[in-house]
Symmetry: C2
Subunit: 201 residues, 2 copies
């Protein structure tokens, strides 16, 4: 039986960008299904006593993260343009995913949002930016955005964020496989190997 | 010309244990020289507003760390016995290394201390534990311990901790290669590849 991985991410998260762009071919090669689970880091961080990204609160960590991201993007051959503002709100695209959890364009949309945010320095929370990304995918941007603004979508994102906290998730990306947690882009391959039953580490 | 890596660690640090046990054969295979640089995470964390290990302050991070460490030890075939107290003070063995920076037994001693702490749940700060580890290495335990209690050794450890802060180090293990920082056991191979000039990531 093919394994599954729950991919918990926030569109604002820099290391989630790396995993979002990498996960699908790696998962397909192992026959693992990916469930894209957006959530909001904000409430998670608030519960930890942080009112901002830890990369802003702790400047040395922040300086390191941007240099590390630069090296990793070079290594993975991924584009990077350091966002002029960080973190940017990923609320709008996250709600859109919550409104369309089984859409065939879901992963394409998520990758387009992450690329806009981390390779093009665009404001991924802005209606017109998201509309442009949706049109590029050949979708009815107005209808998709409206669904993301529905009460149902808002409630679903709140439920998913509550679920993340209940799962003990404290950062992003986080990969959950049968109750086993793998935190960070560095653990993507480990999580997929676990899901595929290839390794127990 | 062979490269060098400065290996910054704290004997109290769980992920430093993994790197301390792994680094020498990996470095030797690439012709890279390892400089063992103990420092104290305590003052670094205090400067970040933490009065304890972040793994204690943030329980979800702590629970994850111990499970992650367990999986990684299995993967690396390293023994692990979760310390009944965490973190334990690494002050005494760190000062001993500062007093003997070029001793031929330095790496053996460091590995013995980490193994005592993370595979045998022994109190690595206790005089008698350290004396026993030194005797096992065939050393004059009393003389080595006395040198570690000297004012010179204490000042050297303070200087190294100040140097770590000046280098922007915010956690352990940290690998420095020609001013390039690599944080965490997950970056050990990257740091060594960088030192060997094999890769620029």
């Amino acid at each position: 039986m093919a394994g599954q991985v729950d991919f918990w991410f926030d569109f604002a998260s820099s290391y989630s960008y790396l995993s979002a762009l990498r996960i699908e071919p790696l998962a397909q090669a192992r026959g693992v299904q990916v469930n894209w689970r957006p959530f909001l880091l904000g409430p998670v961080f608030t519960a930890m006593g942080w009112n901002d990204s830890p990369f802003n609160i702790y400047p040395a960590k922040g300086r390191y993260m941007w240099r590390d991201l630069e090296r990793l993007c070079h290594y993975y051959a991924l584009p990077l343009k350091r966002p002029s503002r960080f973190p940017r709100s990923g609320l709008r695209p996250a709600r859109i995913i919550c409104a369309h959890p089984r859409a065939p364009w879901l992963a394409d949309f998520a990758r387009a949002v992450f690329t806009a945010g981390f390779a093009e320095d665009r404001d991924i929370g802005a209606r017109e930016v998201v509309a442009s990304l949706l049109r590029d995918l050949g979708l009815d941007a107005e209808a998709v955005i409206a669904a993301g603004e529905s009460t149902a979508a808002k409630e679903q994102l709140r439920r998913q964020t509550d679920e993340a906290v209940a799962l003990d998730i404290f950062g992003a990306p986080t990969f959950m496989v049968d109750g086993e947690m793998f935190w960070g882009n560095d653990r993507l391959e480990h999580a997929l190997a676990w899901a595929a039953g290839e390794s127990k580490c």
